[in-house]
Symmetry: C2
Subunit: 343 residues, 2 copies
Amino acid sequence: MRDHLTFQLGDFTTQHGATLRGAHLAYTTYGELNADKSNAIVYPTWYSGRHWDNEWLIGPGMALDPEHYFIIVPNMLGNGLSTSPSNTPPPYDRARFPHITVYDQVAAQHRLVTEQFGIERIALVTGWSMGAGQTYQWAVSHPEMVERIAPFCGSPRTSLHNKVFLEGVKAALTADGTFNGGWYGETWPTTGLRALARVYAGWGFSQAFYWEKEYEKLGYTSLEDFLVGFWEGFFLDGRDPNNLLTMLWTWQNGDIGLTPGFNGDTEAALGSIRATTLDMPAEKDLYFPPEDEAWAVSLIPGAELRVIPGIWGHFAGHGSNPTDTEFIDTGLKQLLAKPGGLA
Amino acid sequence: MRDHLTFQLGDFTTQHGATLRGAHLAYTTYGELNADKSNAIVYPTWYSGRHWDNEWLIGPGMALDPEHYFIIVPNMLGNGLSTSPSNTPPPYDRARFPHITVYDQVAAQHRLVTEQFGIERIALVTGWSMGAGQTYQWAVSHPEMVERIAPFCGSPRTSLHNKVFLEGVKAALTADGTFNGGWYGETWPTTGLRALARVYAGWGFSQAFYWEKEYEKLGYTSLEDFLVGFWEGFFLDGRDPNNLLTMLWTWQNGDIGLTPGFNGDTEAALGSIRATTLDMPAEKDLYFPPEDEAWAVSLIPGAELRVIPGIWGHFAGHGSNPTDTEFIDTGLKQLLAKPGGLA
């Protein structure tokens, strides 16, 4: 696990009006920023992901090659490394942590990119899942900066069904009395976390993934072994419940139409995107279905929709299936070979 | 709500070896059995459904017309009306209620049909969801009796993904400490029931159903109103948690291959079906996807697959959407006009 650097945000005021005093972004970088600062890529994290969880898509010979690009991976506010319920002192700590919008996430990242590095143009923003949501937000918040975007397995606006899926995730966690409205003590609500994991398990991969027992390729020896070993293990791995709920709120309320100036008009926000866009949803993604992205792409000038084929569902973008990784990497290479939308 | 009749099963021994002493089936009938007892239809219930929940598919001018057919609706063991955790005296009460297989359900129903009514041939068995599972089981358990089957939105074997969906449902309910391993008191684990309802909400209808806000057609005024008014209301409406878990176990373990004589060979069990078969999965059913049923139908001699089109997902078979109801009713009419498999 690569160590992270810290960018001090100072007093960070959220879109909803709270001020996190002494806030920070944890981030890391790969490669070197070139002299004219034209080779920057921003690659935000996903729901509960940390910067090291993005490394599968970075490497020599890949689209995100540190020999050629300066790749910045900022950790989301709420993920436990950047300012989060778990590391904020009172009074904004724990269950009192304020709501963070996707707009806020990108506002913080924009400060890192401009103040820390003096970058004025970004060659590419890309990301998986909530990272895709932040990718769309970058293109809308800073159309003058972002040359290309490649969201994969995500959306510019969280759909109603996606919100319902997340309601189930949230309800399972908070049904555990130990959660205590977010004021749990040193004993975490592990029953609730395990329940959340089991709810999530049905959504993360497709029906066909389970039918074909693809989890065996990941080293799991039975369905129950996958549920315990992968899913419960995933959410018991230091993932603070309040952090999970903070990020969940961000996800549920994701909508580029809520960017100041758009008055909730998602279609207008999509129409404002100037970046060259390659959108890659996964064929059997159960909460970011490709139909939704066909709608989004139809509203972004010149955008391309390229569906990741196969049965891994949402986790096509998780880096665990070599076929899907190659598909995404190929898409990114082809996008980077195209002129940026600001050219 | 129509009253029910009671059939005494006496000592009912389950497939797993428990004996429920003084067990009973609650059931109701529509229409009259004709002189040669050739007009019987069996229409089992679904997960938490009661006999009155099946009435939407029964009526004058419909396929299931009481003027022509004698329609028997047996309540599933575990549904709260037939023998269930909630109405069984100690020692097999509540959390100690034994596991009931789909095979057991049909064994009990077979006794009702033969002992109470002296019926030797059944013109049709049909049912939604778990009712579809019982429909398949009838054709495998009693090939000499069943002339036609029309399972809709169900399967002959619960798929691995479907089991995972149900794990999430179960985990949400049991995360509530009030559940207390099934030994809750007069205070029910309503937080867990509401959590279960929210988990279920994402699965019952399709992504597109929510995108199109089809719930407004059911009289719900917002997404949250649908989650509370329909879903939480559904599971808080007298649905005993232990009953829900008993039926959930039956569902998770559904497999016609577990019928005695088939040694777990689901394909052989499908191949043994002699009834004329019309299988109607729903296009966007998230836990009984049509691909799975294409597989099942390919193994049943002469069976027809007819996919219910549209965006209501699993609830296409719930009787709430007139278009889907008409599609199913038309299918049943056409099936009843065909020769039975035993002709």
